[in-house]
């Protein structure tokens, strides 16, 4: 099968996601002088929460620079530079702000190669972060990847761990198409084994992150972490869950999902986004359309169908978490019996170390 190897290599050192991002960029900038990185505040001392740390010192202000608050035109600038043969990385501290860039991304970046019959290509990376917690609220918390998945010509990836963050970054930069690179704020300080040398993670392949037999949990970005924890909770009650990390959203490796789901017979997809017309709708639809998918019971979870509230009590209910995922999976397998794991036990350690505000 063509999915990614089951586990990232246990080689290299433990590295945080945030450092894997900057290392991935730095190695590509070293390798290829046409790579440059820009965007609001990429060159200040906060360095996009550390993910651009050291780049301006190392590569200078011609290749790493901040911009005015003009996301629309700056996206056009990135695309124009890409058409001219550069490989820009345009950084946004929140995915919500991409709504200012939709015209350039949807009407130009996605279409240029096609609309000009191959005469032009647009090799660029749009880095953006999904915000969560500490009252980020309505406009600093959205996971809007499905909007980009909908448009042919764009690629979309969403690494859930430091290994993929670095490897996908290299692959995205080298790709000759516009790639929306979806990061998650709560993952920034999670560690993984990451090789020191440069490597790529292939775009368009999912990964079975943890094996299981009773149900398939498919996660996106940070929700992979929640699924893995849910898997542990489920194991405590004798349920064996397989966790699939989509890794790449467009191209979407539904074959790997399908293989797992047709094996377990149950599929629960958990997205870092709303479900309506979301990635989770697409995954379920693909399974439903397929021969092998006939008979698989399916469900999906994501943001509540509301705007994201600031209130901590409501924010908690707005998101799926390990406990609600486990409970949902449990209800799919054992319909009659009500079960909800202890919320405390379900909290992921990285959530407990994180502290606001931005």
């Amino acid at each position: 099968m063509s999915m990614l190897s089951e586990k990232p290599a246990m080689a290299g050192r433990l590295l945080a996601y945030v450092d894997a991002l900057s290392e991935g960029v730095a190695q590509e900038m070293e390798r290829d002088p046409s790579v440059f990185l820009f965007g609001l505040d990429v060159d200040d001392h906060k360095a996009i929460q550390g993910s651009t740390r050291g780049l301006v010192q190392r590569f200078g202000p011609n290749r790493v620079f901040g911009t005015p608050l003009s996301e629309d035109a700056m996206t056009g600038v990135a695309i124009g530079a890409a058409m001219a043969g550069m490989r820009p990385i345009h950084v946004h501290i929140r995915m919500d702000f991409l709504m200012l860039c939709m015209n350039q991304l949807v009407n130009i970046a996605a279409k240029a190669h096609y609309m000009f019959g191959g005469a032009v290509s647009v090799p660029m990376v749009v880095r953006c972060m999904i915000g969560k917690s500490w009252g980020q609220g309505a406009q600093h918390s959205q996971g809007l990847h499905s909007l980009f998945m909908h448009i042919p010509g764009l690629k979309v990836v969403a690494p859930s761990n430091a290994y993929d963050a670095k490897g996908l970054m290299a692959a995205a930069i080298r790709d000759n198409n516009p790639v929306v690179f979806v990061e998650h704020r709560l993952l920034y300080f999670t560690d993984a084994y990451v090789p020191e040398e440069s490597y790529t993670v292939e775009l368009g392949k999912a990964r079975v992150t943890a094996p299981g037999t009773d149900i398939t949990l498919v996660g996106v970005s940070n929700m992979v972490m929640e699924c893995l924890r849910a898997r542990e909770l489920l194991a405590q009650v004798g349920i064996s869950a397989e966790v699939v990390d989509l890794v790449s959203l467009q191209p979407l490796d539904s074959d790997t999902v399908l293989a797992s789901a047709s094996k377990t017979g149950k599929l629960l997809m958990v997205d870092n986004a709303w479900t309506m017309c979301g990635a989770s709708a697409e995954v379920l639809a693909r399974v439903a359309e397929s021969e092998e998918g006939a008979g698989v019971r399916m469900a999906r979870m994501g943001f509540a169908p509301t705007t994201c509230p600031m209130s901590p009590e409501l924010e908690k209910v707005f998101y799926p978490n390990a406990a609600t995922i486990a409970a949902k999976a449990h209800s799919m397998l054992r319909p009659g019996s009500d079960w909800m794991p202890d919320e405390k036990a379900a909290q992921l350690s990285y959530q407990m170390t994180f502290r606001g505000p931005f």
């Binding site: 609001l40 505040d41 005015p68 709504m99 169908p305 705007t307 509230p309 600031m310 209130s311 209910v317």
Partner: protein, 316 residues
Amino acid sequence: MKDTSDTRRLFRQLLRIRLIEERVAAIYPSDKIKSPIHLSIGQEAISVAVCDVLQPQDIIAVSYRGHAGYLAKGGDLKGMIAEMYGKPAGCAFGKGGSMHLVSAEAGVMGASAVVGTHIPLAAGQALAAKLRGEDKVIVCFFGDGATEEGCFAETLNFAALHKLPLFFVCENNGYAIHSPLKKRWANLDICARVRAYGVPAVRTETSDVTVMRAAAEAAVAAIRDGEGPQFLEAVTYRWLEHVGPNEDYAAGYRSRDEMEPWENEDPVARLAAVMDAAWVEKTRAEIAAEIDEAVEFAEQSPIHQQEDLYRHVYAQ
């Protein structure tokens, strides 16, 4: 400046906002406020001066850095503190937080945290007022960074074209987060830019609330006279970090030297010096009591029920 009823009114507003912001900053490390806060300390005089010349029916539009405007226009203090606590008693039902203050009663349009977005919204409010023939002025407060967003230029043109009753107030504190003007503007003369769209523009470079008030008064009078939109560039300084309760002069992107002239000119201190000392103390005590009460209100007020999550998605 003298101790008159006018200066007392202005001073009271300034002091009140300062003390409220300081209290918010003091509470913040307790983690009771789980919402990003963008304080107005150092910039209060602009909101105070402008709102002092407004009528109750007038509307102001503010950004995520909106505490001062909200309070100066008469937004309820309890509602504001409860909002930061994310309580249903908050002015936005605890769903907005510090960045999304609102008050239909006081005429504070809901605040947005996507920079620049509220500028065309304010023009829409002004258009509505014009279409209905209402005597209403709309004021839009925004930062220097917001003027770089395309919608600012689009709105200037539209407002001038329709002679909207709209007062643009740019709080130019010289920074967008940590990025100084000269890294963002090729021409630092924002008033020239604005005038070229057909909107009259003036600039103040002072913390003197009475000077700013005079500028605002003239602009608002022109708007009420049907002369169309006006623009004020109020040069100012943000004393604390962009977001959060602390100073950040050690971070390296600016020095405390830059701030000192502003601290020396602090209108709160300067006005306090010319006011009757007993009155100042009494006022300070009154405000402190009001703040205590509001904080107590926010802390005691009930938290959300889970079902509240599903309210307000669609208006009935």
